[in-house]
């Protein structure tokens, strides 16, 4: 942080500014009499960023000079048949933590939650989790097979699937391991890393129920094995009640085809349940009378407790929230005064009617303001506007879901589970904001 930046913090042209000879007054600027005073102020040193422009005799150059985009012609409509964000947004991107996994092919990256707003994750920023890389599937060669304990064992092409009735639903997909690196304490500095194994998009797809009805599930067909077409041939066992309830076989996300890294051309949508079960490049559904106990539901995605036993089939993702700004990657840069706190909350068991936030580490809480749609098993956006006095803050958010469940502290979870369960860490996150506005991932008493 440069001295220039620090100099601007906390000492804007307050009520007494008119009494200081080296600062221009509003009247002097308006009358054009501030020329010498502005120059003497040394490019606005001592003023908050917004005040600095006023200190310059000729006014804010962003206004008084002609930028190229106002004078010259920009690219035509054919320049970007598929558009990309402004180059000024280049830092808003997925990021990897290379020490987390052995290899980038069976690995994870993170959604830049700190830079997003609203509830919909842009497709190109949705975090990725692969076990054998991105399968690059030719949709004309893709097939979905349903077999096992069914009246009809069937094969569908993508063309067939596009002839079934469709539904549009917005759901979060959270990796079971989201925040898993934080079980033993504060480790990664930024909500992108601590909470970014999540995305929230609108899916268009066929209710899985319709496909299973077409196949005709036999009595005793209590479980479904879903399998992907990639080299991991990912498999998970899903109870039939869930399969017949709200699962989708989706081919679109946010209006366009699934991205290859999200399972193009077909993925399973398992609302509210851990992301591992949302099998990508979905090619096979087998109906059976028992679960399969495959690798991703025995070795992985089982939750070791302190006594050495492990929970299995921990499917639901419990209510959780995180403040996305301020946060370590999104510090307060404007100095004291009006400040917007915002974040996201979600629950695999319902909606989020309420989020509480604290600025003092949990001594005092206030209800945040929810904004935007509140959909079942979807992300919810909250805000809390406050006047920052420049003192350090300890920020937390606490989600309430529609079942009455309240997001627990990390310590409350550890008391029940110990520190080695890896998955399902929905504990309350703390950011310590210092007097400079910088935020850090911390644990508090």
């Amino acid at each position: 942080m440069g001295q220039d930046h620090e100099g601007g913090r906390g000492r804007g042209p307050g009520p007494d500014a008119e009494r200081k000879p080296d600062h221009p007054t509003r009247r002097q600027i308006l009358s054009g009499a501030a020329g010498l005073a502005g120059a003497a102020a040394g490019a606005g040193a001592g003023l908050a960023p917004a005040g600095r422009a006023w200190a310059q005799a000729a006014g804010d150059p962003a206004i008084t000079t002609l930028p190229p985009w106002t004078q010259t012609l920009g690219p035509g409509v054919d320049a970007a048949p598929y558009g990309v964000p402004s180059p000024y947004e280049a830092s808003v991107r997925r990021r990897n933590v290379d020490w987390l996994t052995a290899d980038p092919v069976s690995s994870v990256n993170f959604t830049p939650l700190h830079a997003l707003d609203g509830i919909i994750t842009p497709n190109g920023l949705c975090f990725e989790r692969h076990h054998s890389g991105v399968a690059e599937v030719d949709p004309a060669q893709h097939r979905l097979m349903i077999h096992g304990m069914t009246d009809n064992e069937l094969v569908f092409t993508m063309e067939d699937l596009l002839r079934f009735p469709r539904e549009n639903r917005v759901y979060f997909l959270e990796c079971a391991a989201n925040s898993g690196m934080e079980w033993r304490g504060a480790q990664l500095n930024g909500c992108q890393y601590t909470h970014g194994m999540i995305h929230n998009v609108m899916y268009t797809g066929v209710p899985l129920r319709l496909l299973l009805e077409r196949a005709g599930v036999k009595p005793g067909g209590k479980w479904l094995l879903a399998e992907g077409a990639d080299a991991a041939a990912m498999t998970r066992s899903i109870p039939m009640e869930k399969a017949l309830d709200d699962c989708l076989v989706a081919f679109k996300m946010n209006g366009e085809a699934l991205r290859p890294e999200q399972g193009y051309p077909l993925r399973l949508v398992v609302p509210g349940w851990e992301g591992n079960m949302w099998v990508k490049w979905l090619r096979r559904l087998e109906v059976g009378d028992q679960p399969w106990h495959h690798r991703e539901e025995t070795s992985k995605y089982t939750d070791l407790l302190g006594d050495g036993r492990a929970r299995r089939f921990t499917w639901e993702m419990d209510a959780k929230s995180v403040i996305t700004s301020p946060s370590p990657q999104a510090p307060i840069t404007h100095g004291p005064g009006p400040t917007v706190l915002t974040g996201v909350a979600w629950s695999g068991r319902g909606t989020i009617p309420r989020v509480d936030v604290t600025l003092d580490g949990g001594i005092t809480w206030v209800e945040a303001r929810m904004s935007g749609p509140s959909w079942d098993k979807s992300m919810h956006r909250f805000y809390h506007e406050f006047e920052w006095d420049g003192r350090p803050l300890l920020l937390q958010s606490r989600a309430h879901d529609s079942t009455g469940y309240v997001q627990p502290t990390k310590d409350a979870l550890r008391q029940i589970r110990g520190e080695n369960s890896i998955y399902h860490n929905n504990g309350i996150q703390t950011w310590a904001v210092d007097a400079e506005g910088e935020a850090e991932n911390v644990e508090i008493s």
């Binding site: 990021r95 054998s132 840069t333 005092t364 809480w365 310590a432």
Partner: protein
């Protein structure tokens, strides 16, 4: 209307090509067999470069052997021998997804042999053991009973529901852990400098 006509019947050959999953009761196992010594040769050739000569693993690749009695330790070592409940998962997973980068390249007999060798590396069988479809389900792994159903609904949900404190919830707060001290976050200097430029 009419979508009960969509799709077409799967043929027996198509189902056989994709239906390779194995269950703990042995459902799905193919005919075949393999010995520990056959498995050692295949493992050394196809597996040891990532998983280590003795299943101890290199780098961050998965550890396959050892870790007995570590599940309550500060740093548990979760392997086939110490953690996995069912041998069927070993066969199924090796067959469908290994070797990493050359999946489904192993024959049924080779997978039996590697499975036998992994049992040997975990001290579960002697070095003359031969695993086959016939004796497969006789072999149980030590941690078969180590798993329980998800009991959050009984254990956690009641505890984490109800009234919440809104004011004077505690006397004081202290910071007990800091990510900056751990310092393992990827350096994001480009974004940082861009941010500071923006803010003046």
């Amino acid at each position: 209307p009419g979508f009960d006509q969509l799709g077409r019947p799967a043929t027996a050959a198509e189902i056989a090509a994709w239906n390779i999953d194995i269950r703990p009761d042995g459902t799905g196992l193919p005919d075949g067999q393999g010995s520990v010594s056959e498995g050692e040769a295949i493992y050394t050739e196809a597996c040891a470069s990532c998983h280590g000569d003795f299943g101890e693993a290199r780098g961050r690749w998965p550890v396959l052997a050892g870790g007995a009695d570590t599940l309550t330790a500060d740093r548990p070592v979760k392997t086939i021998g110490s953690y996995w409940p069912y041998l069927s998962t070993v066969y199924d997973y090796v067959h469908r997804a290994m070797p990493f980068g050359d999946a489904q390249s192993l024959s049924d007999d080779q997978v039996y042999a590697i499975t036998a060798y992994l049992l040997f590396l975990n001290w579960e069988v002697e070095d003359d053991f031969v695993l086959s479809r016939a004796n497969f389900t006789e072999t149980r792994l030590p941690n078969e009973d180590g798993f329980m159903p998800d009991d959050r609904a009984e254990v956690e949900l009641p505890l984490f529901s109800g009234e919440v404190c809104m004011s004077a919830c505690k006397d004081s707060v202290t910071i007990t852990g800091r990510a900056a001290v751990v310092d393992v976050t990827p350096d994001d200097s480009a974004a940082r400098s861009a941010r500071h430029k923006d803010s003046g």
